[in-house]
Symmetry: C2
Subunit: 552 residues, 2 copies
């Protein structure tokens, strides 16, 4: 019953055939049908990929046979992080390539993670007074040009509609890369007096940025996000809103995604095109690269001055509004994969897992089958009634061992096994995804509703906090406090993050990037206590420490 | 306290200044600030509209003053249905013009109606085994050309991206008008054997069709919808799925939107480009024009043959899958407006209303204020705890009478008034939106939680069923059974729908359209019982009756 892990077998096979990235469709891995190819995804031409995910030589019927035999094969994470990431996405069926270079199809299992993110944030947005809306995605090109730094930031990556209804358009239309410009165009019509403020809206939409180097979830030509836009009467209020939203993202990351992000302020160089200040949450991925996982911008009056978004204040004076915008995108799904996953595949935090508990019924003889399946179905109903997301894998084509590996690879936090002996004992076996082998396995949990529901809820909470704890510990052991550029270079050279006092110029910031590949991820809100600090680069007084890292 | 309705006053004013459509910004209606202009919305050039919704001559401060003084003014529905429709959308703040011709910004109140539609349908889709996904919106132009009738149907109204990242693209990209082609491209990679079937997915997305004649919600250049796509092993299964989904839409329309749609099958001429059969729900609007409010297509093997979407059946044979697709869009919001609205404005079915109950506190003297507001807030909390969507309008800038008219115009199903005497009596006054004047008003409903919650729930249910009943009665009194072309012409000429036996040719169907402006809306599922019928056009035997009407 407790067969050796297929993953460990196949890891060995994969280990014998590095480097995977360069041979996405290699034939010496007979079971590796679905392998994402970084090369194909990032190819810079705009060609339609012809079924890149299936060997081109197969005919229909052999492909079907092939599919039947397919087993999940994941490149070990330690061996090749990028190949591992693409393998997980393909095998866990999170996403697939779209036909256009750099685009992505989000499959049911991946989309369900996004829905869990949406469900949590959407509720929080509404609780804090934001309403959902929809703005058109086509923006007149002239709008983008109105805010100087905005056009500079976005014009290289625009997709343009030039033909509509068979005719060349008089003015090119930009496919929304973000909506500050069109939002301000409408705000000028909706905002008249101080009584119309604050105006706080949000939309869940697709956006397009013509990125050259793409990677599923992390950076795609089109992605999904929410973008919040607010207008306020005072600078203070806008600042408070921008901070409130980055705090909300931080809480979400910690409590729901179990990702211990570092919230802080971006350097001037890294600030959003058109913002006065950008706040960010920075997450450390399993390869120790940083991922910007969410941002909140205090836009000041930059857009309101460009678009003349004004209101009459209580003294009858016309004033420009103060604005914010803030966003989290499908990139966050990539962050979850790269924070918690391991060699066996995906590992999902229970609070965002589409399936929290997978039940695997186990039988050998036909006369055991009915009893085992009935028990599985009862336990499922019990857990479901308690609000737990649970599924029974009762397919007859697969062995229990295959199923164990498959659902581990899919990152399901808990597995419940029910065999004939469990049925007689009226008990189940519960295994944790995050604790491998026997250590994570507990026998003899009563099927009794009052017992099993509590037990499962407790275990889900344990997995949730254990994932966060592991991620915090990994993060903290990979941040080095530095006081000189030499130390910074060494830390970055070792693949770690460097944290040190910084008050140097934009030019010196650029030099760090050029020489080390690292950028200032943020000036963290949480600053070390203590006396005066000296800039690691110049030795001049520095008010704050900055965190440096290579990033996605 | 019970002031005369502002609406009746302003209706009189509006009646003196017809025709409104040609003077969207007319100055003899001092309060009509926000008036949608059909002309501007449908203008065929691709110009950016410069604040079409505000008089161009105003400067900032006078506009603000203007705004303060604005009162809702709705053209009477009986006088000019289209002007009434645009007035309702503008004044109830459902939507606004986007800067690009034919596009629409969906504002919070309008979007909340769409969210209520989504919430209901999304749950039903999942209960019937469909999973949400996201497909890229950019589709290679070559895909659209693969299915012959599909390209013929869609190519005139495509928006094309030709420039990306500053470079001319090798292949033009279509901005998704619908996703059958790209869905099939992916299905070929996901479907291998009969065990992969049925495959049932759905997505909530934006779509673009370069329409020449647009109208907010009803027909816009970009709109929001859900599109379901399924693949099945047999023709039977696909047919069952297509019928299941049109049944779901029908139930939704009746029970949630209180719209008594007529479900049926489209004629061959009116069938979706690429489908074998199209099922539809047809709704009668307040001006007796038909609105196609949702469709479900049995696609047969048309797309699977064009894209080679095949599976291996249980006998090892390769077969093309059988498919369906089905959609409901933001157009449905237009259908709700045009079914239930009246001269006073919007009238929303309680099941989809963003605000089901508006509480208007009423006081004259300052010492009454605190008690009245406290009571309003208690009643609000009581109703909210019972799951009722309730809002208190406690703004001090407006009179109670103004608020009554405003929330009537916004279509809120129930109003609760609380004045000083009500506070002493511990009771409230409840008014129904759908029953005007004193008849719809009941005094002395106890504030006691057990009483007021039940009373409000009962009244909401009454409004819901009363809206449906009124719509059914309106529909049935405007459908005429005809047995000859003469009778059909007469019925259509009177603005009604004609229902009669039909077995004539496509050419004769085209002739009806040309001569009367009416089309076959559907062959209703519900057919009259009785003996053999004769085609109203040819006198030949006819198996079915068809419904003819002018439509949006």
């Amino acid at each position: 019953l407790r067969i050796p892990s297929l993953t460990s077998l196949s890891s060995a096979a994969a280990a014998a055939s590095v480097p995977l990235r360069q041979f996405p469709l290699q034939v010496n891995l007979p079971h590796a049908v679905r392998r994402f190819s970084a090369v194909n995804f990032s190819a810079q031409s705009n060609t339609v990929e012809k079924e890149v995910n299936s060997p081109a030589t197969e005919d229909g019927s052999s492909r079907a046979k092939f599919q039947q035999d397919k087993d999940p094969v994941i490149t070990p994470r330690s061996q090749d992080f990028n190949a591992w990431y693409l393998d997980v996405i393909a095998n866990a069926e999170l996403a697939d390539y779209g036909p256009v270079r750099g685009t992505m199809v989000i499959r049911p299992y991946g989309y369900a993670i996004w829905e869990a993110i949406q469900e949590y944030l959407n509720k929080k947005f509404k609780e804090t007074g934001h309403s959902n809306v929809y703005f058109p995605q086509f923006i007149p090109y002239s709008f983008i040009e109105k805010e100087a730094s905005h056009v500079e930031g976005f014009s290289p990556e625009l997709a343009l509609v030039t033909i509509g209804g068979g005719k060349e358009l008089e003015e090119k239309l930009v496919v929304r890369p973000t909506s500050e410009t069109i939002v301000n165009h409408m705000f000028t019509q909706w905002i008249h007096s101080y009584r119309d403020l604050p105006l706080m809206i949000n939309q869940w939409v697709n956006v397009t940025r013509w990125e050259m180097r793409t990677k599923p979830f992390v950076r795609t030509l089109e992605f999904l996000w929410q973008e919040g836009h607010t207008a306020h009467a005072t600078q203070d209020e806008a600042e408070k809103e921008a901070l409130q939203m980055i705090d909300m993202y931080t809480k979400f990351a910690f409590e729901q995604a179990a990702i211990p992000v570092i919230p802080g302020r971006k350097s001037k160089v890294e600030t959003f095109a058109g913002a006065s200040k950008t706040y960010t949450i920075e997450a450390m991925m399993g390869d120790r690269k940083a991922l910007q996982a969410g941002t909140s911008h205090n836009l000041g009056q930059n857009f309101s001055r460009a678009f003349e978004t004004q209101f009459t204040d209580e003294n009858g004076q016309r004033q420009h509004v103060w604005q914010t915008s803030w966003a989290i995108s499908t990139r966050f799904v990539g962050g979850i994969i790269m924070t918690h996953g391991d060699d066996a595949g995906l590992m999902l935090p229970p609070n965002l897992a589409p399936i929290q508990v997978i039940i695997v019924p186990i039988w050998k003889k036909e006369d055991e089958r009915v009893g085992v399946l009935a028990a599985a179905s009862t336990v499922k109903a019990t857990l479901q009634a308690a609000g737990i997301k649970v599924k029974v894998d009762d397919s007859e084509q697969r062995t229990p061992g295959w199923k164990f590996n498959f659902w581990e690879m899919k990152g399901v936090p808990l597995r419940i096994e029910i065999g004939p002996r469990d049925v007689s004992n009226k008990s189940v076996v519960v295994s944790r995804r995050d604790v491998p082998g026997k250590q994570g396995k507990v026998f003899g949990i009563s099927m009794e509703s009052s017992v099993v529901v509590d037990y499962v809820k407790t275990k889900l909470a344990e997995v949730q906090s254990s994932l966060l704890k592991a991620a915090v510990s990994f993060r903290d052991s990979n941040i080095v406090d530095v006081s000189s550029y030499e130390e910074l270079k060494q830390a970055i050279g070792e693949g770690k993050w460097a944290r040190g006092p910084w008050s140097a110029s934009d030019e010196e910031e650029a030099r760090v990037k050029e020489e080390t590949g690292a950028t200032i991820r943020c000036f963290p809100f949480e600053q070390p206590e203590g006396t005066k600090k000296k800039c690691l680069m110049t030795g001049n007084p520095a008010d704050e420490v900055a965190v440096f890292a290579k990033s996605y």
